[in-house]
Amino acid sequence: MKSYTDKIKEIAKRLLKEDKVDMVIGYRKGTVPLMHQPFFATSEGEVDSFVWDSNCGLNLANYITDRKERIGIVATGCNSRNIAVHVVEGKIQRDQLYIIGIPCQGMVDRHKLAAMAEGNIASVEEDEDKGTITISGQGFSKSVDKAEVLQENCSICVHRNPVLCDELVADEVTEQTREQADPYARVREIEAMSPDDKWAHFDDLLSDCIRCYACRNACPLCYCPQCFVDESNPQWVGKSVDPTDIRTFHLLRAYHCAGRCTDCGACVRSCPVGINVRDFTKKLEKDCLELYGWEAGLNTEQRPPLDTYKPEDPEDFIK
């Protein structure tokens, strides 16, 4: 993705040089494969560290919450939607931002690749023309189609182009239609389960959770000064690894994200033990679409549906 990287650097340098922004937020090359690091540049020299490829998975909207500076920020489709949510929720002003839009071709799933590797991955190569990813390490090398190892949220994404931006680094990519992407296939699978099977599914899903809160803290929506799990008076949730408390945390957090989540996948990407937290959030995204015709972060004016009331809101789920 050299062309993207070069263009990002060019724009960032210009913005800093012309004093349009105080800082530019992007990614620098990580110290381990499959992992680039959110990074800010305040000088043209630092801009040279910027990189773009399929390993820029953490949502940069995390890094603008309540900031006072004028910020240039690199943003994909989902990142731009989270920036829009931030603007709607008053966490940043639109005119503080210069959004460098990325027509996104998806991020690769580091958990999936790690599981495929026959050992530790020492390096990763991306061939843009062939659309392949090659992972290699001691005694192995393996090439796969990028499409096969995309993060699941990326492979079903219908908003790859930024919805909000000041300048694009390349021509827009073709969007898939919802019919092509079928984003709720997995939700339907779970919905079709019997109550017992659902219980078993979610029990198993959370069985490895160590309550490190990486999912919460990687989420640009989770900016509360004090999360409900940390409140002590009253204390809503116990703090041990008791399964009831772990379930409560995940369920309530998902609800707090309902109608705000853009399915950026940062939660899943961050989880050190590979829990697919999106099994919760995707269901709520589907409900918001079906009940309210709502998708989060498509504009900077409308508040999310659970944050507003209209007399004609559906209520047949109240029994």
């Binding site: 381990v32 953490l58 160590i210 490190c212 990486a214 004090q226 690894v241």
Partner: protein
């Protein structure tokens, strides 16, 4: 020191013999990766594992552990009087633990076993455990154990060191505990005169396969306050990407901090200790609302200063890290202790600069 030979086809039957005297714990493949788990009857440890994501510290130091309990029934004589719960510390054997993970227990012991106070839960669990380590012949690209005071064949906190030698293990029996376990398993075949040399040879090969290292030679002589105050040169930039989750601390074998919480269930009160993390604002928040480490820069600095300076100064025994590389691999935003260690080591307070290494 005695070296014995354990044929791999006698390994499983030896383990079965151990079961009457030990609870066995070993690496097993779960959904996607390995974890240390109690081995059920007939279940074998997967000795070909890549290191586990969560370290085996929880075998000695569970993430949540009941430490006291009491009756909340007014009619009971000992109403509201906290007591130690009855717990059995039956002998356990951790099989196949990596030397770096085993070494972490000696580091953590310095916290829980002090002149003034002893943590009975940690110490009893530790003393009840026999450590059967598996030397590491294929270090990960992120392993830097040999420059962090440990090593792929480090045996300083093991009772037995196993070196994989094709169809058999060469087992260095290091302690009385180790002898007892070997005897219980019926492993007694003398490995011959050259076994010691063979292990040393393998050790050299493994050490030379380690690609990653940290520089720690100047940490002790650096001024604590100089490093603490290196905000512009180090802390602000390195903390930027931190999201203040607890991943690094929870997967770390040497992070020992904990929280104490009371819970009530029915007519009983429980005091539980849970792993805690210096990355969380709540860790240091006063009841008044004041927070001495109120920003993420403060908290990230605490983690690395603790491991790389406070610990170094306090115990004069190296860094609080064994180089297992878990935090490097699992940090969701790629904060790399190797990079920060090298920055601290090379920091020059005169010019306020440090060397920045790629990894």
């Amino acid at each position: 020191m005695k070296v014995i030979k354990i044929d791999k086809n006698e390994w499983a039957s030896g383990l079965e013999k151990l079961r009457s005297a030990y609870e066995l714990i070993g690496p097993v493949k779960e959904k996607f990766y390995h974890a240390f788990q109690p081995l059920e009857s007939g279940q074998q440890p997967d000795m070909d594992y890549i290191n586990t994501r969560v370290s085996p510290k929880y075998v000695i130091y569970p993430q949540s552990e009941l430490i006291l309990e009491c009756s909340l029934n007014e009619n009971d004589e000992d109403y509201k009087i906290y007591k130690e719960p009855e717990k059995e510390y039956t002998p356990k054997a951790i099989l196949g633990i990596r030397p770096c993970d085993a070494d972490s227990f000696s580091l953590v012991r310095r916290n829980f076993d002090t002149e003034e106070y002893k943590d009975p839960y940690w110490l009893r669990a530790y003393e009840a455990t026999t450590f059967v380590g598996l030397a590491c012949d294929q270090p990960c690209p992120t392993c830097f154990c040999s420059s962090a005071g440990s090593g792929p064949y480090s045996d300083s906190n093991l009772d037995i060191l196993l070196a994989d030698n094709g169809d058999h293990y060469l087992a260095r029996v290091l302690t009385e505990k180790g002898e007892k376990l070997a005897a219980a398993a019926g492993w007694s075949q003398d490995a011959g005169d050259e076994a010691d040399q063979q292990i040393d040879q393998k050790k050299q090969e493994a050490e030379s396969a380690i690609q990653s290292r940290v520089n720690t030679d100047k940490l002790a002589s650096q001024s604590l306050l100089d490093l603490y105050e290196a905000t512009d040169a180090i802390w602000e930039k390195e903390a930027f990407s931190c999201i203040n989750c607890g991943t690094c601390t929870f997967v770390c074998p040497t992070c020992w901090c904990f929280d104490v919480q009371d819970e009530v269930s029915g007519k009983k009160g429980y005091r539980i200790r849970n792993w805690d993390s210096c990355m969380y604002p709540l860790f240091t928040l006063h009841a008044s609302g004041h927070n001495p480490r109120g920003t993420k820069v403060d908290r990230l600095r605490q983690r690395f200063m603790h491991k790389l300076k406070y610990y170094v100064d306090k115990y004069e025994n190296g860094i609080q890290c064994t180089g297992c590389g878990r935090c490097v691999q699992l940090c969701p935003v790629n904060i790399d202790i190797r990079r920060i260690c090298n920055m601290l080591n090379s920091y020059d307070p005169e010019s306020c600069t440090c060397e920045v290494t790629a990894s």
